[in-house]
Symmetry: C2
Subunit: 212 residues, 2 copies
């Protein structure tokens, strides 16, 4: 109707791909890869099915794009684990960052969980290696803190996993959390309580020398 006047270059493509990916990640996160129908993605994104296929070759292509996008964010939160900081602050901030992320990106968090539940078969060797390297690097920082006597001697990898597990829990298993807390939905307050609890447990657990 109205002719778009100025700069628009590849804007249409960008906008529509975004629409599709947004609809797709939501569906994939709830129904998994096999359980998600392209027709659903098409409907949820408001684009006709044939148009979805105009932008993405196959369902796999959509999924792979999402995986790629997700992994790009994997390292970001780990930036908090910085050797020049005090472990208490660094860990506190890291837990906060992880918690905030999974809360504000509920859908992405669940999408990731879904893919992992399925065995991470969409992760390329390269992507796995990447996750591994980042983690290894940060584990070294933790080890540094331990050697400096600032942290109890704890396995950094398991420490990380405990943090990941407990922070993601509230996003991925919100149903369990809601039932447990006798609520119909989790509030900001609940997330705050969860955060306090995790920080208390983890910091108390590893800041002072463990008595084994």
């Amino acid at each position: 109707m109205v002719a778009p006047k100025k700069n628009s270059e590849a804007r249409i493509r960008a906008r529509n791909e975004a629409k599709i990916l947004k609809a797709a990640v939501d569906l994939f996160s709830r129904k998994g890869f096999d359980g998600t129908r392209i027709a659903e993605i098409s409907q949820a994104s408001g684009l006709p099915k044939a148009n979805v296929y105009y932008y993405f070759e196959t369902k796999e292509a959509i999924y792979a794009t999402l995986i790629e996008r997700l992994l790009a964010g994997w390292d970001r939160a780990l930036d908090h684990i910085d050797p020049s900081r005090e472990p208490e602050d660094a860990l506190r901030d890291y837990i906060r960052a992880k918690m905030d992320y999974s809360r504000q990106n509920l859908v992405d968090s669940r999408f990731f969980a879904n893919e992992m539940l399925r065995g991470g078969r969409f992760l390329s060797r390269k992507q796995k290696k990447h996750m591994q390297n980042i983690t290894k690097e940060k584990a070294a920082v933790i080890d540094g803190w331990i050697k400096a006597g600032k942290l109890a001697p704890i396995d950094p990898n398991h420490l990380f996993m405990t943090i990941w597990a407990s922070t993601q829990f509230y996003a991925d298993f919100a149903t369990v959390a809601a039932v447990t807390l006798c609520k119909s939905r989790l509030t900001a307050r609940d997330y705050e309580d969860a955060y306090d609890n995790i920080v208390t447990l983890i910091l108390n657990g590893c800041l002072k020398p463990a008595s084994k």
Copy 2:
């Protein structure tokens, strides 16, 4: 060919239903409800499709049966949380029990995770209420320990959830765990390490009065 001589009552039914459920829980745990095809269940169980339908009305019926079975085990592990015990022992045993369960019942654990990721839509109001009551009851035990000065003042619900999250992590997200630990698969030793780590964190974190 050979006539079965003695007692067999409803054994055929029991055996075949078991076959179907076993195949189904495995598939559901990996592909979710929508992603699992009855033909797959039929193939995996070794029974022709029409025979599967002889034992179960619909796909939903199979799924619901599994949910039911799973929930029956929800409370069992919580038995360890017994007011007459010392919190340290009780928590240690509970963590161990949870960990062992999810490890030995990989598939069930993932099935449960899958259902929760999907929002727990297959859980009836009654089943949710049940989970809630059991948890509430055990939370009261924790509160008792806190009042008795045996435990730091921590929210029991969040304590439970942290335990659930961290113990299930290794089963549900074995892929992440394997990548993190640079292994192709988790060994018994890895689980042991994980257990030690969780116990250390949680017990250190809540046994002594928290310094907040």
